[in-house]
Structures are given as structure tokens and as C-alpha cells.
């Protein structure tokens, strides 16, 4: 079984996408010659040429707008936003254009646009290059928001996103690029649904992106202590498939939600609110949230470590919950 990293898996999906449809092109800052600030697009320029793989000036509104406008005319752009923090410089094109045009125009247009971007802390990039902003995107009706936790899903979700006729923001966590797992060579797709990473009967841990590995680590520790945790990777913020989660909590009666984003108004609030609403009678304890504190991401290792949720913090929450 071939194991490759998430970076390699994404690169492979990009190659397959460009190879399969002449409507697909990809552009962004430093993606062609340099192979991407995220280092995911190496080889594309050489294999598909400068018409379909090109660098843009530093102007994120124009980059996303290039995607929106060309998607309206049936191309299938894959635009790269090197850091999700740069939502700041192109937010209108996402909030008011990509997400709204179809609805506002009464369903008249398709917008098969993918925006690949990178999120997350842990590498000392500081407050403006380390954010997790999926909740902000999740609050905007009209876009898909995908957030893979591993190489296999990254490849499968990205290919599905390219076939989607709606705008998709595809969020890659920087700390995951090097993580490896089994990834089939042939093309495949993943659904926009929850993935049960591990089954268990005592508690449900709902999470996504880099926190999935932390949750699995916590689950291993718990196992030794005789607690069977079910770990659910939601994979997709929008659409948000609730059923798997609700069914699980109905079974376990306990839930912990974990994400790296700041706690306040984070997507964990949505998940917890949904669980208590739909599985209230099954719940034996309140749903607890594990999240970053409500401060910007600090630079120093000690501070960033203190900032980041991890398996111990998940473990602690699980224990409080099961007390």
C-alpha cells in the first residue's frame, strides 16, 4: 500500500484535474514557477503549460474575481489563496460575489470555482499567517467549505470539489502537509459527509482538520483507560452533515467538540448547539468544547503551544465530561 503525504496527494489531485478537463486551470501567487507557497503545485507548469498554470500579481481580490468571472463562463478555475488569513484582502469576492451571485440571479449561473487555501498554527507564523477561519466561511450561505484531515481525503475531496458546480473553499492545514497515509494511485472521490475515524460507545469526539489526529491520540490513551471514544471527522463545514454525529451521540450520550479555531463563535458552537438540540434526551452531560482561546495566534513557541488545542486538552475535556 502506497503511502504519500497530504502535499503529494493534493499535487496528484491537481495533476489529475488538469489532465482530465480542458476547462480546469489553476492560478495564484507563486504557484507556477515556484510550485506554490504551499508547495503543492510543483510540476503543474511543466506538465500543463503557462496558459493553464500561471502566477498572478499580489492582488487577492483580482485572483478570486478571476475565478468567479471565468467560472461564470464555464471554466473550472482552481485558485490558490496562499494563507486563509488573506480572506481579508478578497473577502468581498467570496462573501458578496461567489457565494451570492447564483441565488441573487435566480439560479441563472453556475460557479464551478475552487479556492484552495491553507490554515492553521503551530509553525510560528504569527497572528497574520496562522488563523483558522472556517467558521466565518461556514456562516456564508452559498459556498462549500471542505477541510480534510489527511492525504486520502484531501485527494478525494479535492477531485469532488473540482466536479462541483458551486464555489468551494478547500482548506488545508499547514501542519498536515507532511502527514502520510495510504492513498490509491487511481482517481477517486470522497463525499461531503462525516467520516467515523474510530468507533466507540462511551463518548463522541467531533472534530476536523489537524485536530483529528489529536483526537485519535486521545482516543488511544482513553482506550487504555477502558474508555471507548468514537472519533468523527466532519470533513465538510458546508454542507454540514449532522446525522452521523447525532446518531453517534444518541449512542454514547456524551460529546466533546474540538477544533483549532478560537472558541468564541467558532464552528464548535454550531456543532454543540446542534447536538444538544437533536440529541438532548440522549445527552448525559453537556457538550464540551475544546478550542483555542480568544486571542490572536502568538509567535513564541511556549505561547503558541499554550494557544493550541491538543490531545491532552481533548483528554481533559473527555474526562470532565465522563466524570
Amino acid at each position: 500500500m502506497r503511502k504519500i503525504s497530504m502535499r503529494e496527494a493534493i499535487n496528484e489531485a491537481l495533476h489529475i484535474a488538469l489532465n482530465s478537463s480542458p476547462e480546469v486551470f489553476t492560478a495564484g501567487e507563486d504557484i507556477a514557477v515556484y510550485g506554490g507557497q504551499l508547495r503543492c503545485s510543483y510540476g503543474l507548469l511543466e506538465n500543463f503549460g503557462a496558459e493553464r498554470v500561471f502566477d498572478t500579481p499580489i492582488s487577492e481580490s483580482a485572483i478570486v474575481g478571476l475565478g468567479v468571472g471565468s467560472a461564470m463562463l464555464n471554466l473550472r478555475p482552481i485558485m490558490e489563496l496562499s494563507y486563509i488569513d488573506f480572506l481579508g484582502t478578497c473577502f468581498d469576492q467570496i462573501l458578496n460575489q461567489a457565494a451570492k451571485l447564483r441565488y441573487m440571479y435566480g439560479g441563472m449561473v453556475n460557479l464551478p470555482l475552487v479556492i484552495r487555501t491553507q490554515c492553521g498554527a503551530g509553525l510560528g507564523n504569527g497572528a497574520q499567517h496562522s488563523q483558522s477561519l472556517e467558521a466565518i466561511l461556514g456562516h456564508i450561505p452559498g459556498i462549500r467549505v471542505l477541510i480534510p484531515s489527511n492525504a486520502y481525503d484531501a485527494k478525494g475531496l479535492l477531485l469532488r470539489a473540482v466536479r462541483d458546480n458551486n464555489p468551494v473553499v478547500f482548506i488545508e492545514h499547514k501542519a498536515l502537509y507532511k502527514t502520510k497515509c495510504h492513498v490509491p494511485e487511481e482517481p477517486y472521490e470522497c463525499d461531503y459527509t462525516c467520516d467515523i475515524k474510530r468507533t466507540g460507545k462511551d463518548i463522541t469526539i467531533v472534530t476536523y482538520s489537524a485536530m483529528v489526529n489529536q483526537a485519535l491520540k486521545a482516543a488511544e490513551v482513553l482506550e487504555k483507560e477502558g474508555v471507548e471514544a468514537e472519533v468523527i471527522d466532519i470533513r465538510s463545514i458546508a454542507p454540514f452533515e449532522e446525522e452521523t454525529i447525532i446518531n453517534s451521540v444518541r449512542k454514547t450520550g456524551h460529546a466533546v467538540v474540538a477544533h483549532e479555531a478560537c472558541r468564541k463563535a467558532g464552528f464548535g458552537g454550531e456543532i454543540a448547539a446542534t447536538i444538544q438540540e437533536k440529541a438532548f434526551t440522549a445527552l448525559k452531560k453537556p457538550v464540551l468544547r475544546v478550542a483555542a482561546p480568544d486571542v490572536p495566534v502568538p509567535f513564541a513557541p511556549i505561547l503558541e503551544d499554550a494557544f493550541l488545542p491538543n490531545s491532552e486538552k481533548i483528554l481533559a475535556a473527555v474526562k470532565t465530561c465522563l466524570q
Binding site: T56, G69, Q97, R163
Partner: protein
């Protein structure tokens, strides 16, 4: 830069055999290139070489323009009536005074060309051939409207006629137009996009980013700035420190041009010249058309930021009146003929409005439709084998 003929006597270096029409529209025009300083309207021009080009528009063409300009004016006036009757909601931004631009520009466009528009988009839609009844229905939030009542006045689109949509965000359409132009180039067509926006929009970051990107990618897009002197209450003299918005073209190494947007003949000709170049792949152009917003920013505007006198004096330059004068004085058209055309258009507009009034409203459940395309594209994934 193009000169109104009435100033032609001030020019030096004119070839002797030049015959210049002294009417109020530049039907015969002097083309000045390689100039150093330039002003439009009633200021002098200094230049080095002067080249002469005579273009005569046929009576039929001009009458056709007159018809469409009246159609737009009648539409807007009727829209205001609907607003007064509370059949529309929120702001109606009328195009009164700017009709020559949409009509002169869209007259050139062919199948496969696209336009993008703004909050002040009715004129662009009509000039591009939109259905009036569906437009009115949209203004009144009816199910038969262009957007099934979901969009309203500021958000009309009709992809089937090449209208990529109006936009309520000032400057929001400029990057989108650029993206559409990219698609046209990518598909190796000779089609173009015309991106309409206002003087106010030219101060948005999106303007800058899009023009630069279009320039370095040599995209087939004409950035068409309708400089109507005002951005709500902000006078152009206070929002920029330059004489002509077209001067901004230099920042991107593209061609920039300012023309009199109230002169349909000039609009038609100069846009045509730009279009020809852009179709040939020379990259984008920034084309400024100077005009004047004759009505309030929206229906209901108190217009406390400008004097009645200013508006009255600018009414003299109303593009419809100017075209009327030209047709009567130079082409021997009878005033009654023109009145008849105007009445025909008005009648057609009213009929569309009346039909639209009878159209059904959407149902509450429609709220849930039209957000997402339900299908996935049919692509067969081809593994990429690295060599």
C-alpha cells in the same frame, strides 16, 4: 483624445482640405494623437500631429440609437412611477442622462461578447437587449422576473444575451469582468467583455487589482468608466485629484481615453475603435466617458449636495436632446417623426410594465431554491502518469 467640432477652429496644423461640421455632435471629428495635454468639453487642446478621420453615421443608425435611448429613458421613468406606487422596494438608481453610453457601446457587441454592470444597471440591460417585461417583473419582485424576484433592481443578469449581471457592490464587478475576459481568451475566441462602472468605483481597490491583472495577462476587456460627476454626494473633484479617470490607464501600461459620453456618435465611434484593437488582442483599455447623472442618486434622493441650477444647466447636454437636435438639423428628420418614436417606445415600455404588474409573486417556499447547483459535472478522471 477627441475634440468636439465646435472647438475645431482653435486648432493649428489642420490640413487645408478638412471640412468640419459645426454641429453640436461630433459627427465629423478630428482625431488627435500624440498629444501632451488634453481636456474634454469646452477646453482647448494642444497637440503635435493631427490626423483627420471622417465618419458619417447613417440616419437609420442614428434613429435606431434614438429609439433605444428613449426606451431606456421611458423604462426609468416608469420604474419611478412604480416606486411611487410602492410596487418596487428599496433604491431605484436611474440611468437618466447616460443613455448614449450604453446604447453606443452595446450597438457594437456581437454574439459571445459580454458586459458587466453596476447598481445603475437598467440602461446596460436594455441596450444589450434584455426583455423589458422580465426586468419590470424583477423590479417588482415577481416570480417571472429575471431573478425570480430574488435579486431586484440592482441584481439583474441575463447570460443568454451576454449580460453577466448588475452588482450592488461598488467595484465588485470589475474583477469578475476580468475573469470573464480571461475565459474568452482561454477559449481562444475573439470576444470581449465590456465592464461598466462609475467614477466612484475607480477609487476601489478592486479597480486597481483588476486593471493590473488584465494588463499583465493582456485580457480582452474594455473597462468603461461612466464618469457622471457624482458618486452619491461625492463630487468627482473631491474624490480624485486628476482631470480624467482615463489617466489611470498609465499606471497599468494600457491605453486610456476620455470621450464625451453624451455624444452618441462619439461614443459609438470611439468605442468601436477601441473594440477593434481589443478584439485583436492588444490587451485591455480604460475608456472614460464623461456624462452627467441628471436624476438623483436614487429615486427619493434629496440632492442636497448640488444646486438645482447645476442640474438645469447640465440638462442642456442631455444626450437625447443632443441627438434630437442633430437629427433635425443635420439629417432633416421632422420633430414629429421623433415624437412618434418616443411615443412608440413609451407605449412599449408601459405595456411591458402593465404585463409585469399582473405577474405572480414568488411563493415563500421559493426561498429555498436556487442557492446551489444540484449536479456535479460529468468529468471522467484521467490519471496523470508522470513521464
Amino acid at each position: 483624445m477627441f475634440v468636439l467640432c465646435k472647438h475645431s477652429k482653435k486648432l493649428k496644423d489642420l490640413p487645408g482640405n478638412l471640412k468640419i461640421k459645426q454641429n453640436s455632435l461630433s459627427i465629423g471629428i478630428i482625431v488627435a494623437s500624440d498629444y501632451q495635454h488634453q481636456k474634454v468639453f469646452d477646453k482647448t487642446i494642444i497637440r503635435k500631429r493631427v490626423e483627420i478621420k471622417m465618419t458619417l453615421l447613417s440616419k437609420e443608425q442614428l434613429i435606431n440609437f434614438y429609439r433605444k435611448m428613449n426606451r431606456i429613458r421611458a423604462f426609468e421613468n416608469e420604474a419611478i412611477e412604480l416606486a411611487k406606487m410602492n410596487l418596487t422596494r428599496a433604491a431605484i438608481h436611474t440611468y437618466n442622462g447616460q443613455e448614449a453610453i450604453a446604447v453606443g457601446v452595446c450597438a457594437h457587441l456581437k454574439e459571445g461578447d459580454y458586459i458587466t454592470s453596476t447598481h445603475r444597471g437598467h440602461g446596460h440591460c436594455i441596450a444589450k437587449g434584455a426583455d423589458l417585461e422580465r426586468m419590470f417583473a424583477e423590479l417588482m419582485g415577481r416570480k417571472t422576473g429575471y431573478c425570480k424576484g430574488k435579486g431586484g433592481s440592482m441584481h439583474i443578469a441575463d447570460l443568454s444575451i451576454g449580460m453577466l449581471g448588475a452588482n450592488g457592490i461598488v467595484g465588485g464587478g470589475i474583477p469578475i469582468a476580468t475573469g470573464a475576459a480571461f475565459a474568452l481568451k482561454y477559449k481562444q475566441t475573439d470576444n470581449v467583455v465590456v465592464c461598466f462602472f462609475g467614477d466612484g468605483a475607480s477609487n476601489q481597490g478592486s479597480f486597481h487589482e483588476a486593471l493590473n491583472l488584465a494588463s499583465v495577462k493582456k485580457l480582452p476587456v474594455i473597462f468603461l468608466c461612466e464618469n457622471n460627476n457624482w458618486a452619491i454626494s461625492m463630487n468627482i473633484g473631491k474624490s480624485v485629484n486628476i482631470e480624467n479617470i482615463s489617466e489611470r490607464a498609465a499606471a497599468y501600461g494600457i491605453k486610456g481615453l476620455t470621450v464625451d459620453g453624451n455624444d452618441i456618435a462619439q461614443v459609438y465611434r470611439e468605442f468601436g475603435n477601441c473594440l477593434e484593437e481589443v478584439r485583436q488582442g492588444t490587451g485591455p483599455v480604460l475608456l472614460e466617458m464623461k456624462t452627467y447623472r441628471l436624476s438623483g442618486h436614487y429615486f427619493g434622493d434629496n440632492e442636497n449636495y448640488r444646486s438645482k441650477e447645476e442640474v438645469i444647466s447640465r440638462r442642456q447636454e442631455c444626450p437625447i436632446t443632443r441627438l434630437e437636435n442633430l437629427l433635425i438639423q443635420e439629417y432633416g428628420v421632422l420633430p414629429d417623426e421623433l415624437k412618434a418614436i418616443a411615443s412608440e417606445e413609451k407605449a412599449m415600455v408601459l405595456e411591458a410594465s402593465n404585463k409585469a404588474k399582473l405577474a405572480p409573486e414568488p411563493q415563500a417556499e421559493d426561498l429555498w431554491n436556487d442557492l446551489f447547483a444540484q449536479d456535479f459535472e460529468n468529468i471522467t478522471w484521467q490519471p496523470f502518469v508522470k513521464s
